[in-house]
């Protein structure tokens, strides 16, 4: 129970990787809140799963692209968990894939707004209590696209690349206060999207990954758990690539 007594906030936590991170933190004894753009369905199911672990849990409907919603999110989480989060996982992300020449500006901007500025907002809202308490863990979920680029996904790659740079800069700013800031870069992960692919497309993708298969959300969550655990007390400003060897940086 390496996270007993900690309060965790995961953005974009109702499904997929965010859900697995929230659950992994709960299984380590932390009180866990997550936000998602949509209430109900997946969010309700994830909240039930969190509660079954026996920890204090909360689900909040919030879009990190909305500054006022982020302010309300942190107030709500503080009340629900009995204090401000001391672990923040910026996982919320959207995609609007299009080749740059054909990508409309509002959609491109929207990706930056959620994936990069949303994370900035949440960091800003989380830092004061972390500095006051002289302990904090921030983990930003990024992507191999940040390091390799990705055709048809320039907005996503740019936002994630920006988030890597934010991670390093903020890590330098707050290190002396006992706050670490790191990133996790998940490669191809077993999700509904991958499951829906044709056998050929799937085989082609797998061939590009040295470990020869997609990862699972739980494998990504394990890396986040490491970064927020006492085992990672001397790790800050770095990116942990959990991608089966795809990037190798």
């Amino acid at each position: 129970m390496s996270l007993a007594g900690r309060r965790v906030l995961v953005t974009g936590g109702s499904r997929g990787i965010g859900r697995a991170i929230a659950l992994a933190c709960a299984q380590e004894g932390a009180a866990v809140a997550f936000c998602s753009r949509e209430a109900g369905g997946a969010a309700g199911e994830t909240l039930s799963a969190l509660r079954r672990t026996g920890v204090l849990a909360a689900a909040v409907q919030a879009d990190v692209a909305d500054a006022a919603a982020v302010a309300t999110l942190f107030t709500t989480v503080r009340e629900a968990l009995g204090g401000p989060p001391d672990v923040l996982v910026n996982n919320a992300a959207v995609t609007h894939d299009a080749l740059l020449m054909l990508a409309p500006e509002p959609a491109w901007r929207d990706v930056i707004e959620t994936n990069l500025i949303g994370a900035y907002r949440c960091c800003r809202a989380a830092l004061r209590p972390m500095i006051a308490g002289r302990w904090g863990r921030i983990v930003n979920v990024v992507s191999p696209a940040a390091f390799l680029g990705k055709e048809g996904a320039s907005s996503y790659a740019a936002a994630k690349g920006g988030l890597v740079a934010l991670t390093k800069s903020l890590a330098r700013e707050v290190a002396r206060f006992g706050v670490t800031v790191n990133a996790v870069s998940p490669g191809l992960v077993e999700t509904r999207l991958v499951a829906g692919m044709s056998a050929d497309a799937r085989a082609e993708l797998d061939a590009r990954i040295p470990l020869g298969r997609p990862g699972t959300p739980e494998e990504i969550a394990a890396a986040v758990l490491f970064l927020v655990s006492p085992a990672a007390s001397y790790v800050t400003g770095t990116t942990l690539h959990v991608d089966g060897g795809l990037t190798m940086l």
């Binding site: 830092l127 004061r128 500095i131 006051a132 700013e173 002396r176 206060f177």
Partner: protein
Amino acid sequence: MDRDVLRAEVKALLAEGLRLELAPADIPDDSPIFGDGLGLDSIDALELVVLVEERFQVSIPDEEIGKRAFASVAALVEFIAAERGT
């Protein structure tokens, strides 16, 4: 609150909160809080923001206001007094 009392409180907070090697009474009123004066750098300002906000119930939301508030002990005292309307 009386300015002298507030000034003493601010100096005590600086000395203790930021673990200065100066006694509160030895902190000058008019030299800059960050930079050369007290041996504090701009990142130490983050901690002072947190301490001042918590202690005096004021808000230092951004760099511009922070620069003004932390120009000197005297400026910080005036900032707190103005924010609290005293």
